[in-house]
Amino acid sequence: MDRIARAEVADMEGVGALPRRSGELIFHDQWECRAFALGVALHEQGEFIWDDFRQHLIASISADDKTSEIIDPSGPGYYEHWLAALEKMLIEKSLITSSKDLVL
C-alpha cells in the first residue's frame, strides 16, 4: 500500500468532497473513521474503481433531500452516505451478498 494518501481520495471536490478542516479529516465518531478506512483500503487493494464509489457517494448525497447542497463538513451526515455507497459498491462487486446481511 502506498505510504501517502491517494490524490483521488484526498482531492475529491464538490458534492463528494471529504469533510476536512484545514486539510485534516473530520471524524465525529469512531465508526466514521472505520467506514472511511474500509472504503479506502478496499479501493487501494483494487477491489473497486474509486470513481464508481464516488458516483454512488454523490448519488446518495444528492438523493437526500435534507442536504440539497454540499453537506456542512462541520456537522455529521457525510459518512452515513459514505457507508451507504460502500455497501452498494460491495454488493455490486459481490464482496457481500446482500444488504440484508448487514442489518441485524
Binding site: M1, D2, R3, I4, A5, V9, A10, R20, R21, S22, G23, E24, L25, I26, H28, D29, Q30, W31, C33, R34, A35, F36, A37, L38, V40, A41, L42, E44, Q45, E47, D72, P73, S74, G75, P76, Y79, E80, L83, L86, E87, L90, L95, I96, D101, L102, V103, L104
Partner: protein, 214 residues
C-alpha cells in the same frame, strides 16, 4: 462553513454530535458488521484498516502547513518573506482564518532546534496545522516542555546532540508559532508537492525531524 470559533482552536463546532445515541449505535453496528464480514472472508485485514487511518490522518492533517514549508524550501524569496512576516506569507498561499493573531515562523538549522508549545492553554496555529494533537493540550507536555525540552523530545524519539541549541516558543493569544523544519537530505530534485508530502505535523511543532526518504 460556520466560523464561530475563529479566535482559537475550533473543535467544538465539529465535535458537536447531532445524532442520537440510538442512531450512532445503529451506525456503529452496521460498520462493525461490514468490517467483520470483510475481515472474516480475508478480503481486508484490521492491520490494513489501521494503517489507512494512520496514513490519512497524518498525511492530510497538516496539509496547509506542509505546503508553506515546501514552498519555503524551493523558493528562497518566499522563505525570506515567511521568516520576515509569516502572517502575510502564509496568506499568500491562501491560508487565512486567523483573527488578529500573528504567525511567526521559526527556522531549524544544523545548530538550532525549535519547539512550539503553549504553556498557558492550548494556543495553536490551527489554520496551518489543523487540530492540535491531544498531547499538545495536556498538562504534561505544556508544563514539562519549558523545563526539560530535551527530555520531552527524547520521549518523542528525538535525541538531540548537546551542541544543538533548543529554543521553546510559547504561543499566546497574540502569537502563533510554526517551525520551519530542515529539508531532509536526499530530496534534491523533488517537486514541491513531493516535498510537502514529507512534512509532518510533528515536525512543524518541533517534536520530530523529517526523515530522509528511503
Amino acid at each position: 462553513m460556520a466560523e464561530k470559533h475563529q479566535h482559537d482552536a475550533p473543535p467544538s463546532p465539529y465535535l458537536e454530535k447531532r445524532r442520537t445515541a440510538a442512531e450512532t449505535e445503529a451506525l456503529e453496528e452496521r460498520v462493525r458488521r461490514l468490517e467483520h464480514l470483510l475481515t472474516e472472508k480475508g478480503i481486508v485485514s484490521k492491520k490494513t484498516l489501521d494503517r489507512v487511518v494512520s496514513i490519512y490522518e497524518n498525511d492530510l492533517g497538516p496539509l496547509n502547513g506542509a505546503k508553506v514549508v515546501a514552498r519555503a524550501w524551493v523558493d528562497e524569496a518566499y522563505r525570506q518573506r515567511l521568516l520576515a512576516d509569516a502572517t502575510k506569507a502564509i496568506k499568500e498561499l491562501g491560508f487565512g482564518g486567523l483573527q488578529g493573531e500573528h504567525m511567526v515562523v521559526v527556522e531549524n538549522a544544523a545548530t538550532v532546534h525549535n519547539i512550539v508549545a503553549c504553556t498557558l492553554c492550548s494556543c495553536y496555529p490551527w489554520p496551518v496545522l489543523g487540530l492540535p494533537p491531544t498531547w499538545y493540550k495536556n498538562p504534561p507536555y505544556r508544563s514539562r516542555i519549558a523545563i526539560d525540552p530535551r527530555g520531552v523530545l527524547v520521549e518523542f524519539g528525538l535525541e538531540l546532540d548537546d551542541s544543538i541549541e533548543v529554543r521553546v516558543w510559547d504561543s499566546s493569544a497574540e502569537i502563533r508559532y510554526l517551525v520551519l523544519p530542515e529539508r531532509p537530505q536526499g530530496t534534491e530534485g523533488f517537486s514541491e508537492e513531493e516535498l510537502a508530502a514529507l512534512v509532518t505535523r510533528d515536525s512543524m511543532i518541533g517534536v520530530a525531524r523529517i526523515n530522509s526518504p528511503s
